[in-house]
């Protein structure tokens, strides 16, 4: 990709090359001009981020984008060139889950699991900024994450448990 004053990203053989920082590591994706970050992530094997609606309504595709939760289904992949992206794979793994993920399991807040990556991204951003949130603050932070299985009660409970876990972890450090 050529880089001059006005960055004009033109496709070579129909594809753009974008460079970004993904979960702390440099990554390079070849993307179609009309591709979205969500599809690009999934096409490159990062399938933790889910596609629920593709229209900005459900929150299952939430990723950290330059430090804030944004919706990957609404970010043209080319505009992610030079950005810093965090997905659920960067939060924790099956072997080493993040305390927030543990809390979701303990609270019984996961049924089909489709909404969970987005929920965890939103919850993590909340707890990093408001370590001890009220129930109203939790509800507000998870407002854009729709779940068709659980009824939300246990997920709100999960964020409360996660807040405690993180407090204990901080205290023991």
């Amino acid at each position: 990709m050529k880089k001059n004053k006005t960055e004009s990203l033109t496709a070579e053989k129909g594809l753009f090359t974008i460079a970004l920082t993904l979960n702390g590591r440099p990554a390079e994706f070849r993307v179609k001009p009309n591709e979205f970050l969500l599809d690009a992530l999934r096409a490159h094997g990062w399938k933790g981020t889910k596609k629920g609606c593709d229209t900005g309504d459900c929150g299952s595709c939430a990723v950290m984008f330059n430090g804030k939760p944004e919706l990957a289904c609404m970010i043209p992949a080319v505009t992610a060139h030079g950005s810093v992206v965090g997905t659920i794979e960067g939060v924790g793994t099956v072997d080493r889950p993040h305390p927030i993920q543990e809390a979701f399991v303990e609270a019984g807040g996961v049924q089909c699991g489709f909404c969970i990556p987005g929920m965890v991204i939103s919850a993590k951003h909340l707890l990093e900024n408001v370590p001890d949130p009220s129930e109203a603050e939790i509800k507000k932070a998870l407002d854009g994450n729709l779940c068709r299985c659980t009824g939300y009660v246990k997920q709100i409970e999960a964020v409360k448990i996660a807040s405690k876990k993180l407090r204990t972890r901080r205290a023991s450090k």
């Binding site: 006005t6 229209t55 900005g56 609404m74 407002d143």
Partner: protein, 281 residues
């Protein structure tokens, strides 16, 4: 349909220089939250000009008598600013009703206006705070009262390639109330929104501005209701009379979100609620 070409100018000067070389059917891309939806429903231009990186559109300035809000500021960035909380209570109150937290991190106030939708929450709030909109085409700036910017559904005063630079809002001592009726308490485009900003002095209304969303082809200014309140006390009688006037000014349609008759009736209910909140403030 999404376009095959995306251009990302690094400054306004480069933007104006680059435009002539681009396909004629081009669109600005800010947060993308309206444009993406337009693209998935049909054609949304042959080329997108990504203005999200332009610093010139993200400025925020405060003078002794006014505030200037850059068009590229996101709803979440605005909602957190102390000056917005202090001087633009309507905008601060509208923010939590606006889509979801992650969407507010993307959606810009300029895109909210440029999209030309009568249901825009940011626009409705700014209309009640007496904002003007500042437009820029190459070196030429012009300023319009915000309500005059809207010509019809999805039709605005923007000329080809003209940019919204930002919004100028006078500082005036007012209290506001924002009442939005959507499909649920938060997150969803409004069926009806009513926003009231008012300056009350010695118990009487010195000035009030009432704007409504989703009940007319453009963001509606309920001028008769506002004029009626001038010099009066906000009591049960005047509130109900003003709310009835606001209802008479609305001309909603039936669409997928709600029905015309219901919307019209709800203008009265929401206007009365907003005025009651202001009376109690």
């Amino acid at each position: 349909m999404r376009p095959e070409l995306l251009v990302r100018p690094s400054s306004l000067a480069h933007l104006w220089k680059t435009l002539p070389s681009l396909p004629r059917d081009r669109r600005y891309l800010a947060g993308g939250t309206d444009l993406m939806i337009a693209a998935s429903h049909g054609h949304a231009g042959d080329c997108w000009v990504d203005i999200s990186g332009l610093k010139e559109l993200r400025s925020f300035r405060e003078t002794p008598s006014s505030l200037f809000i850059g068009s590229g500021l996101t709803i979440s960035a605005l909602a957190e600013m102390p000056a917005v909380k202090k001087w633009l209570p309507a905008l601060a109150l509208a923010a939590p009703h606006y889509a979801s937290p992650s969407l507010r991190n993307m959606a810009t106030i300029g895109g909210n206006a440029a999209n030309g939708s009568p249901c825009a929450d940011g626009v409705c709030a700014l209309c009640s705070e007496k904002a003007s909109i500042v437009l820029l085409l190459k070196g030429v700036k012009r300023k319009l009262p915000l309500p005059a910017f809207f010509l019809g559904p999805k039709r605005t005063a923007l000329r080809k390639d003209e940019l919204i630079l930002g919004f100028e809002v006078p500082k005036w001592r007012h209290v506001s109330a924002y009442e939005k009726l959507g499909p649920r308490s938060y997150f969803g485009i409004s069926k009806v929104s009513v926003c009231v900003s008012a300056e009350i002095s010695g118990g009487v209304v010195k000035e009030t501005v009432i704007s409504c969303a989703s009940v007319a082809p453009v963001p509606l200014m309920a001028r008769k209701a506002a004029e009626f309140l001038y010099g009066r006390r906000l009591d049960e009688g005047t509130i109900s009379e003003a709310a009835a006037l606001a209802e008479s000014e609305a001309s909603p349609i039936t669409d997928t979100r709600s029905e015309a008759g219901y919307r019209k009736a709800m203008v009265r209910v929401l206007a009365a609620r907003a005025l009651a909140k202001i009376a109690a403030a």
